[in-house]
Amino acid sequence: MIANPRILTDGMVARIESLASRYPTKQALTLPALHIVHDELRHVPLEAVVEIANLLDLAPAEVQDTLTFYQFFYQEKPHGKVRAFVCRSISCALRGGEQVLDHLCKKAGINPGETTSDGTITIEAAECLGACDFAPCMLAGSDLHKDLTHEKADAFLESVRRQNG
């Protein structure tokens, strides 16, 4: 057990430990643990990395090495309350995906990869989301937004602002 965990809550630790019997090594819990923390905090601060390492009998550097390999995980500060991935890969690009990304970012007043100053939304360029049949598309939370147009993008931003403003 960790001495005085500060970032990981009892709930998080319990969830991580409940997965332990699935894997023959503790290290295999690294990605699940990172996801559990990231899901709740929207980032995994370095203190949490140290705590995960203690929990899994690893060097903090091992956990940090894994975390930094996957650009998916935020560290210094959390991503926005909503995180939107806009696909820029080939099938979406052929149907205007990059223009939708530009439009969305302009409307939100940020560049791709940034979070609005009020912390409501982060917009990121993504590679193929595996939904090319609905190109151009976007994944926000667990919602897939299909066949995007600039109008649909506007409506999406509106609803994000309304719900989180």
Binding site: P24, F69, S89, G130, A135
Partner: protein
Amino acid sequence: MKSFHTFRPVLLEAAGIEDGFSIESYRSRGGYAPLEKLLVEKKPAEVVELVKSSGLRGRGGAGFMTGLKWTFLPKDHPGPIYLCVNADESEPGTFNNRILMEDDPHQVLEGIIISAYATRASTAYIYLRYEYPKSWDALQKAIDEAYEAGLLGDNIHGSGFSLNIYLHRGAAAYICGEETGLIESLEGKRAWPRIKPPFPAIEGAFRKPTVVNNIETMACVAQIARRGIEWFQSIGIPADPNNPRDPGSYGPKLYCLSGHVEKPGCYEAPLGITARELIEHFGDGVWKGRRAKAVIPGGISMGLMTEDELDTPLDFAGPGTVGCLGLGTAAVVVIDDTVSIVDFLHNSCRFFAHESCGQCTPCREGTSWSLRMLERIRAGKGRLRDLDLLTEIGDTMGMMPGSTICGLADGAAWPIKNSITKFRNEFEDYIKQTNPTGYMETDPVPALPIVTTH
């Protein structure tokens, strides 16, 4: 060979059926009975033999013989043996695994249980990409149902065979689809592919014998168990009798059709349908009544077919005969004649520069260098010489020249080489028109700062 006109979908049978994803629906269509029969009647080695003699080739991109791969596992190994099911599906253009998992998860599970029985694996991990939350929920629900029905867990139906299936979530990295990158990622590390040999069958996940198979491959195993080898071999393109190294292209295949078509979608057809047939019969033609300029036959790594190559059969051997890397994932992306091939190649180079894991110098440097060159060409500072340089980079990175650890570099190199060969005039015209004073330059010119990569 069954024609696509009379062919009835099998893998996609559940699509459109209400509650097709439930265990009741799957059972009512004949599902799980083959597994239950097989657990009683067949030994694991006989199941390996069944899949081997069906001629099933892996659907994940490489087309390796599934049954043959299983025979590479050590005999009489004390265990554990692992089955890793590859649901990382990240090759641009590809989405058939998503549809299988969401519409008919039990078909996938039955295939996994049969494959685990054959390979004597007692744990199966499904490595699922982060971007598929719906697939996650559908699979987890199906797994819970299967446990409840005694189809998973200890001593399944009193057969002595036990299996647990766990979902493992990825974190948005293409390289986790490469089988040894997947294994490293599963182990909790950065997804750096391993040098092979040793192959996973000998030393894989947690240093134990491991089989890695694609989701669609698993669905095919379930259908082979249900319908038999004769049925499977009645579909597709038979082995070439004059070529002892051609194992044929048997069975149904899920083709993902996207890009500039009227009706994008995932369509099931016998292996060997042509791109033109797919576009016209299933896709309702090129969108807006335009003409196709080029078509990707199986994910962006495969390169391009030109309009006059569209009658090439999309079996495992076909795309290679027209200079493509292979059938890949059978993800067919249509590019209409308003698109600049320079923009296509830029998109491809940007993808691979972003996704290279950075472990091998030729891949790390080659992918980012080619992207920087394409950025510069698109900014009107291209030189004709860049086309030779790009080709040279393409020729020097990959497993095929022997300079890298995994196949990502070959997939990055292929579209470069292939599109410059097939569309050289268009590249030259573009460079001359956009850089009328500098296109003959041969001295190095500085790269532009890249602002769009990450």
